[in-house]
């Protein structure tokens, strides 16, 4: 029995490597939704970056997000940009439930429940570094990657699907023949098209 359960776990895990997170979704779906840029972003340039990044996902499958300027409650992706210091990440996405409640525990893969909105954080401490982020496209790549998570996409770990926006090591991939990836690629788009 443990072996059977292990095989089931393995199968579920492999299926999650290169697709939308299989068990959970953005409540209400990805069509006709809103994103919001924090007006207190450390640099207002990031708001434009988020808009550009969002536009690269719009039109893929059902994805349709327009910007809202209302501070509260009607956005499904909230974007922030601060100098968080040299944390281990360039960008971060956190899945939230509405009304101050948190997602409930689940034993299935990430995220751990359906979510109502996601917070996307861009770390200005790194993104303002002109050596690593020497083009606007690279900053947009980080934003688009995080938005991909917020929409419902996992990291891309399948060795047969290199050079995707959702690669686990996006910045490292820029040093390879992949070049700078800042828009959804073939597999990114294929998976995004599956999002409900």
């Amino acid at each position: 029995m443990p072996l059977l359960a292990g095989l089931l776990t393995l199968t579920m895990s492999l299926s999650a490597l290169s697709a939308p997170w299989p068990n959970y979704r953005l409540n209400g779906g990805v069509g006709g939704r809103h994103f919001w840029n924090d007006p207190a972003m450390i640099n207002p340039v990031y708001a434009g970056t988020v808009r550009d990044a969002m536009s690269t996902w719009n039109g893929v499958g059902l994805i349709s997000f327009t910007e809202t300027f209302s501070m509260c409650c009607d956005s499904q992706i909230d974007a922030y940009a601060m100098a968080y210091g040299n944390t281990p990440w360039y960008g971060i996405t956190e899945f939230r439930a509405s009304n101050g409640t948190l997602l409930q525990t689940s034993e299935a893969g990430p995220p751990i429940a359906n979510w109502d909105f996601a917070n996307v954080g861009l770390n200005d401490t790194y993104l303002r570094d002109p050596v690593v982020f020497d083009t606007a496209q690279k900053i947009q790549g980080i934003a688009a990657h995080e938005i991909g998570h917020a929409l419902g996409l996992a990291h891309e770990d399948d060795p047969g699907h290199n050079c995707q926006l959702m690669d686990v090591s996006l910045v490292a991939s820029w040093q390879t023949p992949c070049g700078t990836i800042y828009t959804p690629r073939t597999w990114d788009r294929q998976w995004a098209a599956q999002l409900p």
């Binding site: 443990p2 776990t9 922030y80 210091g85 954080g121 990657h145």
Partner: protein, 219 residues
Amino acid sequence: MSLVRLRRNEVLALALSTLAAAALVSAVALPFANSESSQPSGRSEMNGSLVKSYESLQAVVADSELIVLGEVAATEQRPFGHFPFTLATIEVTKVLKGSAPIHLRVLQTGGTSIPQKDGSIAEGEARYQGVPVTRPGETYLFFLRPYEGPIAANAFVVLGEFQGKLKVGKDQRIQFTGRAESLTTPEFALPLWAHDRTRAEVVHLVGQYVDKDKKDDHQ
């Protein structure tokens, strides 16, 4: 076959492609899955773009400025902006690389004080990639570098967030603290490799890699 593809294949080691690997997963995964039910009910999940992803012990040793074994003496919530952070005070029991005081502070992403849209703080638990922040009384092998930023002064951060902290169980073996599903992805190659190895074995290997790096630096 590209180098990238080859590397990833090596990382996975395609232990997962064999029935033997499935048996291994079955042996290690179920206890993790069962342990989930004891967690608090209000949870949040975090994901992101790692500055660097560490898939081997040698790589994380090479990049660490400080490697220590230590017990978590206390934790303090440090929510910043709209994200939760935790500052842990570590009582160092062994220094494997670099130099460290008896007590040091480690900043981690995630925690139990969750900033809300309206600026209030809700209690719950936020985990980065499903891995909880350290808790008082737990012992870890930490791979660290100094933190420079506004959230905490005189602190360190963990390399690869969840990759550079290996929990040592009471049986002196390394325990994986995240979700079972995570173990099959390259991001978790290092925790998977370390899981259930003895603390002594991993510490010994760390020492070997540190010595090798020193020799390489001198040459």
